[in-house]
């Protein structure tokens, strides 16, 4: 049952990701991206990363994806949001490059003897993440909050209406 569900989620992720990069309509791309992000959240669940799965759904699907759809809406007429793709030779060349990269990375990955620790059944990661964020990774946490503030101000400045 678990293996079946895992295969289902894996196929969902790959198929929708393929759709994201090949769909002609930008809105279809955005909807497919939602499938990919949900699928990755499902994979996090299989990896015992419950907090990260929730964060993935809230921030990626609820935040970034809505932002991207707003970007589509503000720059194009929504019914005719046609993605202009590169010319056919360029796409073919990119496909060849990506295919060989895929083959190379896969063979490298299957041939590497990865270090394996023992698998433990964890019960919830929220307490551990919360504690280490406010002790060991406190500086990184604060830097991330400053980064978000700067991004907020920068985006508001960049997209403001020009006066004069």
């Amino acid at each position: 049952m678990g293996a079946f569900a895992f295969n289902l989620v894996a196929i969902l992720v790959v198929v929708t990701a393929f759709w994201v990069v090949t769909a002609k309509n930008l809105v279809h791309s955005a909807v497919a991206l939602m499938g990919t992000l949900f699928g990755v959240a499902g994979l996090y669940v299989f990896l015992y990363a419950d907090f990260l799965a929730a964060v993935q759904v809230v921030i990626y699907v609820g935040g970034i994806l809505v932002l991207i759809i707003f970007g589509v809406m503000l720059t194009q007429k929504i019914a005719t949001a046609v993605v202009v793709q590169s010319s056919m030779p360029n796409r073919f060349l990119a496909g060849v490059v990506v295919f060989f990269l895929f083959i190379g990375l896969s063979s490298l990955m299957f041939r590497t003897p990865w270090h394996r620790g023992e698998l433990v059944e964890t019960t919830g990661t929220v307490a551990t993440i919360g504690t280490s964020l406010l002790t060991r990774y406190l500086l990184h946490f604060e830097v991330a909050s400053i980064l978000l503030l700067v991004a907020l101000l920068g985006a508001a400045y960049l997209s403001r209406r020009e006066h004069g």
Partner: protein
């Protein structure tokens, strides 16, 4: 579902598809979607190595993935502001048509 390789294989596939999207799309928003796929592939790697590398007491991979998500949010906001500016200036969102500064 209990082997590191299956997660890494999904991650490699996501990365390659994202790279293909970044290379072939001309629309700025679609390029951004490709970047999101690549970041998701990286995050999946972090979490998979955290689980299968025996790091379940400290969870450094989860923390790193969390910071990557924060970074992705900031990046998406700024990129969309730039794309909207591009649209206002050039009336196009195709990244290869904005070549004003090309020599």
């Amino acid at each position: 579902m209990d082997s590191l390789q299956s997660y890494l294989f999904i991650s490699i596939t996501l990365f390659c598809l994202g790279l293909y999207g970044v290379m072939t799309r001309r629309n700025g928003v679609a390029v951004l979607m490709g970047i999101e796929l690549i970041l998701n592939a990286a995050n999946l790697n972090f979490v998979a190595f955290n689980r299968f590398g025996g790091l379940s007491d400290q969870l450094p991979g989860h923390i790193f993935a969390l910071f990557v998500i924060v970074m992705a949010a900031a990046e998406a906001v700024v990129a969309l502001a730039i794309i909207i500016n591009l649209y206002k200036t050039f009336h196009t969102v195709n990244v290869d048509e904005a070549h004003e500064m090309k020599g």
